[in-house]
């Protein structure tokens, strides 16, 4: 395999594209397996209010969900729900501006970094299969937005940690289910900043030797893939999918 991931490194320090691909595929398989399990579990429910339970098939769940989203009845239009209640998270804003700010920074930071990563990955693949995609140039181009969205995400994470630690009511009601999500997210953000800092020799590099950049980057990528993708169906991360689908199914909610 001639194409290598993180082409900004010297040849000796590069983490191979194959390694990344294997980890990514494993993460995706674990994610898909978990999603199928969840959808089969949800598929044990009935297809409508007051009806008999179903057989436990993922298709039953999907059909029920789509039917409910498309059903007529009270509630707002699909697009209104999508924009105001899912993308802009109006329901949280109505209840707590602080919680909304915390959540929207994490949502925007996370989603933007995810999309940027996907685009960078796509450029690497294009280069690999013979197109002149120039992933190195792209990486330079997205360097600033990458930093900006990383800091946005960091702000959200810091607020979340402060709430969990110092707001009595929040702290007393925190359980492992909540903590794992926050610990995972913190780990991803911190390792991301450190690995990038080592590579660029900035403050976040903590003065670590440049030779540690590849394993640091690898660690960050593995952690990110595990938490961002693989662990979603098995943890509170599941709300990233279940909550928007619930809001859509209930047409914006009451």
């Amino acid at each position: 395999m001639s194409m290598e991931y993180f082409s900004g490194f010297t040849d000796a320090l590069r983490i191979t594209f194959v390694q990344m691909m294997i980890i990514a595929i494993i993460a995706i398989v674990i994610f898909l397996y978990g999603m199928i399990l969840n959808m089969r579990k949800w598929g044990l429910g009935s297809t409508g209010y007051g009806l008999e339970p179903s057989s436990g098939s993922a298709m039953v769940f999907l059909k029920t969900l789509i039917a409910q989203i498309r059903s007529k009845g009270h509630g707002q239009p699909f697009l209104t729900t999508l924009v105001l209640d899912i993308l802009l998270q109006r329901r949280i804003l109505r209840r707590s501006p602080l919680r909304w700010f915390m959540h929207i920074t994490m949502f925007v930071g996370w989603m933007a970094l995810f999309i940027i990563s996907l685009i960078m990955f796509a450029f690497e693949v294009l280069e690999l299969i013979g197109f002149d995609a120039n992933p190195a140039a792209l990486r330079d181009m997205v360097s600033v937005p990458n930093d900006v969205f990383s800091y946005i995400l960091l702000v959200g994470v810091i607020i979340a940690i402060i709430r969990r630690l110092f707001m009595t009511n929040v702290r007393e009601n925190t359980i492992a289910y909540d903590s794992v999500l926050l610990v995972g997210l913190t780990l991803i953000v911190v390792t991301g900043f450190i690995s990038d800092g080592i590579r660029n020799g900035t403050f976040w590099g903590l003065g670590l030797d440049y030779a540690t950049a590849p394993p640091a980057a690898l660690f960050h990528v593995v952690i990110s893939l595990l938490f961002c993708i693989a662990y979603i169906p098995y943890s509170k991360y599941m709300h990233m999918l279940a909550t928007p689908l619930t809001i859509l199914a209930n047409k914006g909610g009451e």
Partner: protein
């Protein structure tokens, strides 16, 4: 329970409702608003998010990843019974759903869980278990004679045999709070509205059975809905008036769902009807009510169906009334405590919630706490008595009758 058999099943829960369990972000907003959680000094078992968490765990133990790999993990009957008892300490007011950041339809989730546990043999709670038998046998929950449904009708009220407008009285107004039925009938007569009533052909709307998860027992609510709809059709109904918020909600939401058909008539709450008459200039007030009035939104009229403005319009239109609002109103209102079978099953809890609501009213310095539902009127009156509060609890229709110069004696 045989080993290897899941302790719980998914009866009465939809596939989307099972997903909703995983949508809860545990933000805890529901706990800030739940009236029964508040009235029980924040008993952890009653917390809406706590109930979602517990059933989610039961689902994992019975049908999750580990259960599919190694077999279901047993949940003790005592634990499930405790969950059931906690679940029924809820008025199904739905404020948890209104404030839920994940948009979970909690009213239907609680009702579905109740139905599941009733089928399992755990629910309902206390005297609620009498509802199916009484309603099946007597067609009303008060063991009253159907033939006496119209005994309260005075000579000055004319009821047509058939009419496009039919007044559906409801069991509570028809038997136990006849002042409301009397006021409604006299107001309609005064406004020259030709109307008919079902009399002994009126059966319980079935609301209590649906709210307490007993809708499947002998199919009683569906039978009642079928009977009532057919009887109303036979009367020639184009518009059916309800002065009871519980019956109104049942007819508007539950009947079409139970029968799986659109109703052949319009379902209208009497406050909507009166607000429309005001708009058309057809109401000429004859008396002044020089009082400060605040309004309590019944859950079944407000949050469940969305009727908020019409009762306020009626009150604000009555000469002399100074209208004031409580802190928690409309979709964020605090429940009176009577709904969801709580008044019958857990009267002390109902009273606790009622005192909180009456306290809300006292803070406004209102002379009258008005509502538009016989259950709210009764429970808020009990709350007022418990507090010894100097506030009158009355229904909008009674105030309307008085302002039209009508006697409600």
């Amino acid at each position: 329970m045989a080993k290897g058999t899941p302790s719980i099943n998914t009866n009465n829960l939809t596939a989307v409702q099972l997903m909703e369990l995983d949508a809860c972000t545990r933000c805890g907003e529901c706990e800030n608003w739940c009236p029964t959680y508040d009235a029980t000094d924040k008993l952890p078992g009653i917390s809406p998010r706590g109930k979602i968490k517990r059933w989610k765990e039961y689902m994992s133990k019975s049908h999750g990843l580990m259960a599919s790999l190694f077999g279901p993990k047993q949940i003790s009957d005592e634990e499930i019974q405790q969950f059931n008892d906690d679940l029924f300490q809820c008025t199904t007011c739905g404020v948890c759903g209104t404030v839920c950041e994940a948009g979970i339809n909690t009213i239907e989730l609680w009702e579905s869980l109740r139905a599941n546990l009733v089928k399992r043999g755990n629910g309902p709670y206390g005297k609620q278990s009498m509802f199916p038998k009484l309603i099946k046998e007597y067609h009303n929950p008060y063991m009253k004679d159907q033939a006496s449904r119209l005994d309260w009708v005075p000579e000055d009220v004319t009821i047509s045999d058939n009419s496009e407008i039919v007044y559906f009285t409801g069991c509570t107004a028809g038997y136990n709070q006849q002042i409301l039925a009397l006021a409604t009938a006299r107001v309609l007569t005064k406004l020259d509205v030709e109307f008919s009533m079902l009399g002994e052909d009126e059966w319980c709307c079935g609301s209590a059975l649906v709210r307490t998860g007993q809708q499947h027992l002998e199919d009683t609510p569906r039978e009642a809905a079928r009977h009532n709809v057919d009887a109303l059709k036979a009367k020639g109904a184009k518009k059916v008036l309800f002065a009871c918020a519980g019956c109104f909600r049942a007819a508007k939401v539950d009947w079409p769902r139970l029968l799986n058909e659109e109703l052949p008539f319009e379902v209208v709450h009497v406050t909507q009807f009166l607000a429309d008459m005001i708009d058309k200039g057809k109401i000429k007030w004859e008396e002044t009510i020089n009082k400060t009035v605040t309004y309590h939104d019944p859950c079944h009229l407000g949050r469940h169906v969305g009727v908020y403005d019409e009762p306020r319009k009626v009150l604000q239109n009555i000469p002399g009334i100074t209208f004031v609002e409580m802190d928690r109103i409309k979709d964020e209102q605090r429940c009176c405590g009577a709904g969801g079978g709580v008044k019958a099953g857990i009267p002390d809890l109902a009273l606790g919630v009622a005192t909180s609501r009456v306290t809300d009213a006292i803070k406004t310095k209102a002379d009258i706490l008005a509502s538009a539902c016989p259950f709210c009127r009764r429970n808020l009156s009990d709350g007022k008595d418990k507090l010894g509060a100097d506030v009158e609890v009355e229904d909008v229709i009674v105030l309307t009758a008085k302002a039209l110069g009508l006697s409600v004696e």
